[in-house]
Amino acid sequence: MSDLALAAFAAETNSHVVEEPRERRFQRFRRGFDEASYRAGLRAQGLRFLGRSDSGYPALLCELHDPPAGLFVRGAAGVELLARPAVAVVGARACSSYGAQVARLLGRELAAAGLVVISGLARGVDGEAHRGALEANGATTAVLGCGIDRDYPAAHAQLAGRICENGLVVSEYAPGVEPAPWRFPARNRVIAGLAAATIVVEARERSGALITADFALEAGREVFAVPGEITSSLSSGTNALLRVGATPLTSAADVLEALGVEPMPQGDELVGETAARVLTALSTEPAGVNDLVAATGLDAASVATALAELELARAVAEAYGLYRAVRPQG
């Protein structure tokens, strides 16, 4: 039962440890390590620890060649959540509004179908995927690349709080571990390891999301990539993934089918006639209100009304004044 000691030792020495080291230093540390009081300290902070040798340790994660010694966990959900079928949605931090909107749509629809959405709490695609899952009142798990007691990035502290209400925040790292660039690829292997499939929404070449995809491939998991414009640098990574054989993702249903999950019957919400006209005008490319006024011949007030209706029906999403149809076009 040395998992916790191993994790605490890694934190103490600021290193990455998954196997018991032969160093004398570790032996000394272990002799002086008071596991009971450490656990009490975790409990006092509302944290839990799930060791590799515990029965609840996710089976999928064990399949990695270097599974973490254990996971620190916070959040209201039980650790059984980690064993439920899950999909990782990852991508660029500096994503485009297209990437953000697709990530949110996927997060929402996958969570609505009962899958757990896993991501890394980062800005951009990660955060949007979490938000989408929360919108659907689904479960979502955030995997941190720093100590479990930190919210990183700080701007997502509130999001982390909302995730904890109904889901989990997990980390391989003990409280007090500072975020460091080299820890994030290790974090990505946990994301890929926990998920049955990994979706890359938007990634540049050499993006961290591609590392996640590599880990997923290594573990023999399904990898999906969302096709993007071939002229956009933000899509170069995902398009390269597609070229080497990733499955193109055209709707959340593709993932559900691959995982054998029944899609939730969810009839598209009906919208009025004016709204349908506006939606048709949006089907080829995103447009602003002024463009829609020109395209439909409606006045600005009616277009605004229609857009709000479509937005409530979650058929369009807005960013910086541009509206985009977010249901995949058949």
């Binding site: 955060g127 209100v289 463009d291 937005e311």
Partner: protein
Amino acid sequence: MLARTVTHALVGLDARRVEVEAHLQLGVPAFAIVGLADRACQEAKERVRSGIASAELEWPTRRITVNLAPAELRKEGSGFDLPIALAVLAASRQVPPEALGGHAAVGELALDGRLRPVGGVLAAAEGARQAGLSHLLCAAESAAEAALAGVQPVPLRHLAEAVAYLRGEWVPPPPDPITAASNGNGATPPVPDLADVRGQERARRALELAAAGAHHLLLGGPPGTGKTMLARRLPGILPRLPPEQALEVTRIHSVAGLLAPGRPLVTVPPFRAPHHTASVASIVGGGSSPRPGEASLAHHGVLFLDEFGEFPRNALEALRQPLEDGAVSIARVGGKIVFPARFQLVATMNLCPCGARGDPAAECSCSAARLAAYRDKLSRALLDRFDLVVTVPRPRARELAGSPGEASVAVRERVVPARERARGDPLRRSTPAEELLSRAVERLPLSARGRARVARVAHTAALLAGVEEVAPEHVAEALSYRSPSELGMP
């Protein structure tokens, strides 16, 4: 020999009665002004002496003491020249002292004895009326302004005329009554017309809603898309000021010395556009003897802050009090001064420091840290005041080549009745509208404050539509104006 005249000193926007006493005594000829007179006021000595000589009157070779009472009140400015001169003349019996009864006086003297107008005559005239004085001696240019307060102005061009009038040798011509012709539409300074804006239907609609509901408006978008151009056209579609508001605005502008000659009453809602390098005091008012700032000068009008994100943070935060209370209060050792500041805030800002966000043709080069810093500058508390937030995209070529937009006059014809209806009972929301609003609160990230904001805009949309009930489409339209905190996302 002693004589007295009455004038008024300004404390903020209020006029306080000041008695100017002149006492001539035997002794070495001298001239002293006592009673907390500031520098401009002390210099009155030289102007008064020259003015009296130029009017071919006699400067008494006595020991002259002028006291400005009450002595504890600070007196500032040059408006005391005329009352001091008249007090000296009355004390030396060159004008009959009893003729000064019922008269207040205000005005600056030129060295040749001519009278120059000063700021704050309206406030001084109101002070005179409240003190039961019937006439105000003032410069001819200020006469129309004084008449607004309901006292009889005595328009003077020269000190000699004042003396002739008080001796009963001269009757001043009655001032021109303030008519629509001298003050109405024809004479107002030209406001740029909305017809100049091509396309931008979205922002035009937002401008119309802002005008009809007096909503604060935030225009976001990349540079060069016409945000400023649109904002400058807002006064042209606002209704004229009703008389009591016009008087309030005029009082502030009078104190600031901003009234246009010959057009004393401000009937067009003021439009103030301070630059983003402006100091806090110049925006909300201040100074050792507090003067109204831009926020007060925009009272009942528009305060336009171009490049909102570039203003110093403390200047923006200082605006929160007037946005909340409709007034700025400035505390000084001598007491608190309140300037009204119920303005409509219109602001423009880029969506990121480099300005490329929201422009499909450019790629934003801002780092996450720079973006966060830009966003942090504007507190949510301040951003939440904006009921209407629209992004103004780069116009397409065909929009610019299209026909001119609707003229301001046509838009104002819709705004004016909506504003009038807004004074009545608020409209009820229909049940479907209520349901839509509740659904939106559940589905969108909409706070309680956001809900109230949507309800206000929906109400204005219904008023503009001329219907008796707020319908779902009005709520839906209101929902489409984003909450400002979302501007910086994701």
